[in-house]
Amino acid sequence: MTPRVLRRLKCSVALGVIAAQIGLAVAPAAAFCGFYVAKADSKLFNKSSKVVLAWDDGKTAVTMVNDYEGDPKEFAVVVPVPTFIERKQIGIVDMKTVDHLDAFTAPRLVEYFDDDPCRSRAFDMTSVRGVGAPQPAPPMANQKAVRYAGVTVEATYDVAEYDISILSAEQSDGLVNWLTDNGYRIPDGAEAVLASYIKQKMHFFVAKVNLERMELQGSKFLRPLQVRYETKKFMLPLRLGTVNANGPQDLIVLALTRKGRVETANYRTVKLPSDLEVPLYVKEEFPSFYKALFQRAVEREDMHAVFLEYAWDMGWCDPCAAEPLKNKELVELGARWIGSDDDQPFQPSGGSNAYVTRLHVRYDAAHFPEDLAFQETRDRANFQGRYILRHPYEGSANCSAGDSYLASLPARYESEAQTLAQLTGWNPTGIRARMEQTGQSFKPQENQGIGPWIRRNIFRN
């Protein structure tokens, strides 16, 4: 919020309204770093992907969230990884933990209520500071050999509901044959991309669902898979995911780092418009508002940018859109450097810093030909996607300041309408009509009665 607004407002309630899945439901999507493939020809796609990427100077943990909604037996994923992966480097993460970080970092709507204008002339800045103050985190032998030429199944693991294989390959056609014969349906065009990864000495992490184990464990849905490894390559492979894509896809990267904000080194990273006052009715339509806003931002950057939605020290939040994460949750998500995995909310102390960056990208092969390459900056400045509802004072405001206050409201509403139109591309006339319906009238407002009339017309300054 700008200092100007801060000076004029007193916040009595700061309400975080979470748009955890916003923007996600916009476009059908395949998958971020691999592609989902089916055993049969059934249609498979995800609406979007989410990745938690914990990075500490090469120690990497990638948690992949599948919001796959098809039949589990048809789920499969192929992800290029930079090194061989041992069993102990693979884990399952509780979906709730990822959802928690998602909610914690999601773009938010905040509400402020105007003060009584008759009493706010000698406005006390300290009260504002109290409002905005940081909250500490509370509490077939030969034939096969030919057909699978160059493919080595380096290991196979049973991990919870998943059957996982780690492959290395020398030739992409052998790899494609192996994947196809093992029930992974490989889209046309993937072979060239696989060949590129093979030459870059990447390994392949491939996973399918084991229905028996899934049943035994009583899992109803597929839990996020986590892979941990050490690499200099701070990147996410996108390219396989664009091969069979049906239009642009959305990816949200939640990066946990020690030192500071993460940005893409090979694409523009752009902050989303934030800290703007919007009409009150947006409260009822926040998801569609945010989707439209994101779409506009993508269009403005000609779909060539990655968007920053949140960048903040994990030790505090303001306003908090969700309860701060606990140490054990951060460790579960891969931030093992923080030193503690207890049940306490994370607090930075002696070198155990944690910083979260939320990046949102809408991508396709034409606009994002290359995988995302990241770099960790030392920038620890705070940023959040935040949109402000500012409720007018509803008392009598019967004083000369109240007269000016009431007179200023239509212009303020107009400014909110224009902001909303600009952010979302919605029709300004429709916005104004909706505002009228929801109590934000553009008609001139004034105190009624003879007293106020005399004050306005005879005793005005």
Binding site: A192, N266, D302, H304, P369
Partner: protein, 296 residues
């Protein structure tokens, strides 16, 4: 950046007041000096950054970088008793630092400016400074503090393309033979990226996208092409440019080093004196000495 002022061979019969030594050049001389156009191009980029398309430069750090390079140039010119104080080269260095270097502490930008200029005056071999000032300042900060980084990918295609055209125009209009090194380097760098894509079987969109980096342009047109630090002979410059391109490629793709270009330049610059001895040629100077007794 880097185009340093003349610093060597100075024995002044008397000290001149600073005001007299900041030489006023005739209009034609202004037009014939590429640095004026470079300053205009970099200033425009900085304005674009501040007003329209943010690629990360902030007002205070930029101001500190520019003020510190200018201040350091004036101070060092006094200490080294130069007949003229030339503020054009430090201004280019200041702009380049503003556009490239990012820190979480603005004071470090001032430190970078001082490192750049002091290194230019103090670290000299055969009367020629060894490192491009901005490159050595960036690399020093990257490796000695934990608070600096460069953001290579933030320009976006339109600004990148406009900048490329502007820089090429300056290069062509002021066809100094020395600036061939920018083209040698860009050719080598692009060649390696395209060769990599062909080897991997990747679409050409990938190397083209990789070339679309603002940092690459500043590097090619202002750092490696600094005529005051580049090797004297054309063959020397070709060898130098290709060596930088190769080392940068190795650093970027095998070591995953994001600021590969300035690091490669600083490393290869160590061999410039050897190249100059093996392949001797006339030394570059920006302009003829304007005061009697002051060389180059």
């Amino acid at each position: 950046m880097a185009h340093s002022g003349s610093v060597h061979a100075v024995a002044l019969p008397e000290r001149y007041p600073i005001a007299q030594r900041v030489a006023a050049l005739p209009w034609r001389a202004w037009l014939s000096d590429a640095r004026h156009f470079q300053i205009a191009a970099l200033a425009t980029l900085l304005c674009v950054n501040m007003s329209w398309l943010d690629f990360g430069a902030k007002p205070l750090p930029s101001l500190l970088a520019i003020a510190s390079t200018l201040g350091a140039q004036i101070t060092c010119s006094q200490l080294w008793r130069l007949p003229r104080i030339d503020l054009r080269s430090p201004l280019i260095t200041g702009f380049s630092l503003s556009l490239l270097l990012r820190t979480d502490d603005p004071a470090l930008m001032a430190v970078a400016g001082v490192i750049a200029i002091v290194a230019k005056f103090a670290i000299r071999i055969d009367g020629k400074h060894l490192w491009n000032p901005a490159a050595i300042a960036i690399v020093t900060l990257l490796f000695t503090t934990d608070q600096a980084w460069i953001s290579p990918g933030q320009w976006g295609a339109s600004v990148w393309f406009a900048a490329l055209l502007a820089f090429l125009a300056i290069l062509v209009l002021h066809a100094s033979r020395r600036t061939d090194i920018a083209l040698f380097f860009l050719g080598g760098h692009a060649g390696l990226l395209v060769a990599r894509a062909l080897w991997l079987g990747d679409p050409l969109a990938i190397p083209l996208h990789q070339l679309e980096s603002g940092a690459l342009l500043l590097f090619a047109f202002f750092m490696i092409s600094d005529p005051r630090t580049a090797p004297d002979s054309r063959l020397g410059r070709l060898v130098f440019a290709l060596a930088v391109a190769l080392l940068a490629y190795w650093l970027a793709f095998f070591q995953q080093l994001r600021p590969a270009l300035p690091v490669a330049l600083v490393a290869v610059s160590l061999f410039t004196p050897i190249l100059d001895r093996l392949l001797p040629a006339e030394r570059f100077q920006w302009s003829k000495p304007s005061l009697k007794g002051a060389a180059s």
